[in-house]
């Protein structure tokens, strides 16, 4: 039997959830025995080369590229998991949800303490290559269907390990009190 295929992505996140995955420590060796990785920043595979079994999504959607990547994952992965607060509810990036995008851009590029004097011409990044910010940051399940949710900022390594092995082996996921945390 071939191994299940795992893919991962970081959308509007800080890579903390991926770091937490590395917190499984030496069990990473066990993990590579259990699964093969496809598209993921961990192995730097940039494009899906085959359909996958499990997709782990860190971060919500703050721009059109995030939406594109998320939809691509939904297309290629049988099971899609929201990993961490940002994927689940937008997380800290969603703190901007009450503000107009123009306010955020002006604060970041024109009026912020580190840009105010450095950007006298008032340049705003507008290259066509750059993704376009959405009106707000969206939780993943408000963009595509997500199958499972693993909360935490970042989720505890034990939760990630428990969930991954349960999915791979088809066991029911156990959720002891101390692994569910939102911070």
């Amino acid at each position: 039997m071939s191994k299940p295929i795992l893919a991962t992505a970081s959308l509007a996140g800080c890579f903390g959830c991926h770091m937490s995955l590395l917190d499984i420590d030496e069990r990473i060796l066990e993990l590579i025995e259990l699964v093969d990785f496809n598209k993921s920043p961990i192995n730097d595979i940039k494009k899906f080369t085959r359909p996958c079994d499990i997709g782990l999504i860190e971060g919500g959607c703050c721009n059109n590229d995030n939406v594109h990547v998320l939809k691509d994952f939904r297309k290629h992965c049988k099971i899609l998991v929201s990993v961490g607060e940002c994927a689940i509810m937008g997380g800290l990036p969603a703190l901007r949800n009450g503000l107009p995008v123009s306010d955020c851009l002006e604060e970041a590029y024109l009026n912020g303490p580190s840009t105010k004097d450095e950007n006298p011409e008032g340049i705003m990044p507008n290259d066509v290559e750059l993704p376009i910010l959405l009106d707000k940051v969206y939780p993943c399940h408000e963009v595509v269907k997500m199958d499972y949710y693993l909360p935490g900022c970042p989720p505890d390594a034990e939760l990630l390990w428990g969930a991954l092995t349960a999915l791979i082996k088809g066991n029911e996921l156990e959720l002891p009190y101390e692994v569910i945390k939102y911070d």
Binding site: A94, G98, H141, Y177, Y182, D183
Partner: protein, 232 residues
């Protein structure tokens, strides 16, 4: 001194308590935890949040406002009731802006602790991301309306020597919010500011110039679920 004691049943367990006690307190006396949010010991119950809903002789009632009577059959830890509680918790999470990772109350917050207890992984409702204000204009206290669950614990519990409340509701309907009386707040003592923060079940009232003092791992609900002290 003559007190009338009554017998009643919670989830099949025979219990005994003084007649007239609220179900919440009677249950506690018998080692049974019924979750609360708006209720706090020592204050007149309000019945606002409905998280304490139980079935009393088959009908949903709020345990914080219903006195226990002889022969009552109360159902607490049953699927129907847990379903109601989980729904309320999820609704509260999407109704406000609860960014737990950046909240000072995280780890000691009663709303969050209940969400942990009922294993909320994601709320079933869409997030509303309402636009809410933070009021930092008072010398001792910050009020973050993003996290307020309108339980009125602050209004009911924090009063001056003339029994005047420091807090009040302003506006109506879905716009209702907590208002701090500026004149009184200007004279608020450190002790009362601390008590305000403590009486708030969530992170809507925070004392200024001090924060994140308790390390992760030592906070109230880091290791044991809310109610563990009652259900020994």
């Amino acid at each position: 001194m003559s007190k009338n004691f009554v017998e009643f049943i919670i989830d099949g367990k025979k219990c005994m308590s003084e007649e007239g006690k609220y179900i919440i307190d009677a249950a506690k006396d018998n080692g049974v935890y019924i979750p609360t949010l708006c209720n706090i010991e020592g204050l007149k119950p309000k019945g606002a949040c409905r998280i304490c809903s139980v079935l009393v002789n088959g009908r949903p009632m709020t345990a914080c406002t219903t006195p226990v009577t002889s022969g009552m059959e109360i159902e607490n830890n049953i699927a129907q009731i847990e379903g109601i509680r989980k729904t309320i918790i999820e609704a509260l999470f999407v109704e406000g802006n609860h960014f737990c990772p950046s909240c000072e109350k995280s780890g000691s917050c009663e709303l969050q602790a209940l969400a942990y207890k009922y294993k909320m992984l994601v709320p079933r409702f869409p997030f509303m991301f309402p636009i809410r204000e933070v009021d930092a204009s008072n010398p001792k206290l910050i009020k973050d309306h993003n996290r307020c669950i309108l339980c009125k614990r602050c209004i009911r519990g924090i009063r001056d020597e003339n029994d005047r409340s420091y807090f009040a509701f302003k506006k109506r309907g879905h716009e209702v919010e907590i208002n701090i009386n500026h004149e009184m707040a200007n004279k608020m003592t450190d002790r009362l500011a601390r008590e305000s923060m403590d009486i708030c079940p969530v992170g809507a009232l925070l004392i200024k110039e001090s924060g994140f003092r308790t390390p992760i791992g030592q906070r109230k609900y880091d290791h044991l679920p809310i109610g563990s002290d009652i259900e020994k």
